[in-house]
Subunit: 300 residues, 2 copies
């Protein structure tokens, strides 16, 4: 194995991903654990991390840069929130106490906005990675997910942002409501497109349109794949209706992978927006690499 | 105990309520079980019913009129849906097979609407009870709940209706999303009123406004009681935004009890609507009494 110079960690609510990195910020190895922040007590983080990265350690001290919910109040150490407008990263990391002297862990703070009140944690690192690659970008970033973010960027700073609970609503509605009987595997592109258009035209009708999925399942044999596409389209369409000032006539980059990237790309395309597509993992690693570079500059 | 002439049953997804009724449709006794439709297989309904009403039976045949999810496809017997426009009840009951010959069970069908697709099951009985008491009512009924209904009534018929998943969204969001960390006991009337107004003004922003509850909890110490009132206000306000044609300038009656009645009454009052308040239980019993009267007329 190539020499491991440092370790990048993306530690969210439901899992922990780690990458062994070379001095040139290339991925040497990677590992994942399902020990997310959500199931750990404060003294459980260090052993959970050692389980994932233990093989990459030698006798010396290893620098570890971590982002995500690991820095929340319920996490390993509270890394706080920096106030926008600001750069996505600075060098004020939170440093949890560790027993194993080989570990030197730094946790990236989140960002907050006073008005309207909003917070992010984890996305700031992807944004930092994006700006490290595209320092002159002026426009809007869309980061879909559990708590989707729309972020306005200017002159290397996060100017403002807005969070939508789209992903979490999709999960809660599809698992915990009567719609779970109507949804199923598969996809229907035209049902998705129609639902996006419908939500944009009548965004106030969401709670009603959701129930029509169930009703059509009962009385008109709506196919499960069509039902799933329609639920997704209604929620993404509602998000686009409320985030319109963020994308209308703007330069948009979409930080997303796989299914979510395709769905948002399609929905935005229907509104005449052609976002640049950027990988989440790449941006996370670029952001943590930038965090490390910043820390080195300020370390005597 | 006064003579039991028949038994009324409201059998929903999560519980089963039964009332022993006199010949004059007065309540003689009542009983409840948590054996809702949701946890019963088809052959579990008869024993579950006998557990609840067994004490009220004598050697003769007992007429039992039931409404609710007991008549759904996953229920005791599928009672189908009648198409609106139509009266809320007719005499086409579904009759499940029973082993105990003392039981003569009739299940009330639901209502369906082809366009836009919609269904109700259980509410048709409350509507029938309401129209039995107020046969000349011309206007709109609001029935809050898991699947809130807005129903247009004219000339004794259900003309059209619209369902909103407001109650089920409240439950899923407050239990299954990150907002569960921010909500708590108690209530804040002005936070509720502000949220209703906010949702009516910008109904498209729901998924964003929901997250601000979490963000304000984290960075501005939003009180748990205020957070709960705001979630409720946002969801009821969004429902009012989409049901506006149903209540604006209309005569409205609200079939609801307790907390839900107060919240909808307040929210409608803020829009200048003063609904008549009607009890759910009274309307259910009046509706099942009307079902029994109809059955007697058509029984030779």
């Amino acid at each position: 194995m190539e020499q491991v110079a440092w370790i990048a960690v993306d530690w969210g609510t439901s899992n922990c991903r780690a990458w062994a990195m070379s001095e040139a910020n290339e991925v040497v190895a990677e590992a994942t654990s399902d020990k997310g922040m959500g199931q750990l007590e404060r003294d459980g983080f260090e052993p959970a991390l050692l389980d994932v990265i233990g093989d990459w350690l030698s006798s010396g001290t290893m620098d570890i840069f971590a982002c995500g919910m690991v820095g929340s109040r319920q996490g390993w150490i509270e890394a706080g929130y920096r106030s926008v407008p600001c750069t996505p990263l600075d060098t004020g990391f939170a440093v949890p106490r560790v027993c194993d002297t080989r570990l030197r862990v730094r946790v990236v703070p989140g960002l907050k906005q006073e008005n309207p009140p909003d917070v992010m944690r984890g996305e700031e690192t992807q944004i930092a990675g994006f700006l490290d690659r595209s320092p002159d970008f002026d426009g809007v970033l869309c980061l879909p997910g559990t708590h989707a973010k729309w972020v306005q960027i200017s002159a290397g700073e996060v100017v403002s942002f807005r969070t939508f609970m789209t992903g979490e609503l999709f999960a809660a509605i599809s698992r915990q409501t009567v719609l779970r009987h109507s949804l199923g595997e598969g996809w229907n592109e035209s049902a998705f497109a129609e639902a996006v258009a419908d939500a944009l035209a009548r965004p106030e009708s969401l709670a009603h349109r959701l129930f029509t999925i169930r009703a059509e399942g009962l009385i008109a044999n709506l196919a499960p794949a069509e039902a799933t596409a329609r639920l997704s389209g209604l929620l993404i369409g509602a998000e686009l209706a409320a985030s319109r000032p963020y994308w209308l006539g703007q330069r948009v980059a979409l930080i997303a992978d796989g299914t979510l990237a395709r769905r948002y790309d399609t929905a935005l395309g229907l509104q005449g927006v052609q976002p640049a597509l950027v990988s989440v993992e790449e941006m996370t690693l670029a952001g943590l690499s930038a965090a490390r570079a910043g820390a080195k500059e300020t370390t005597p």
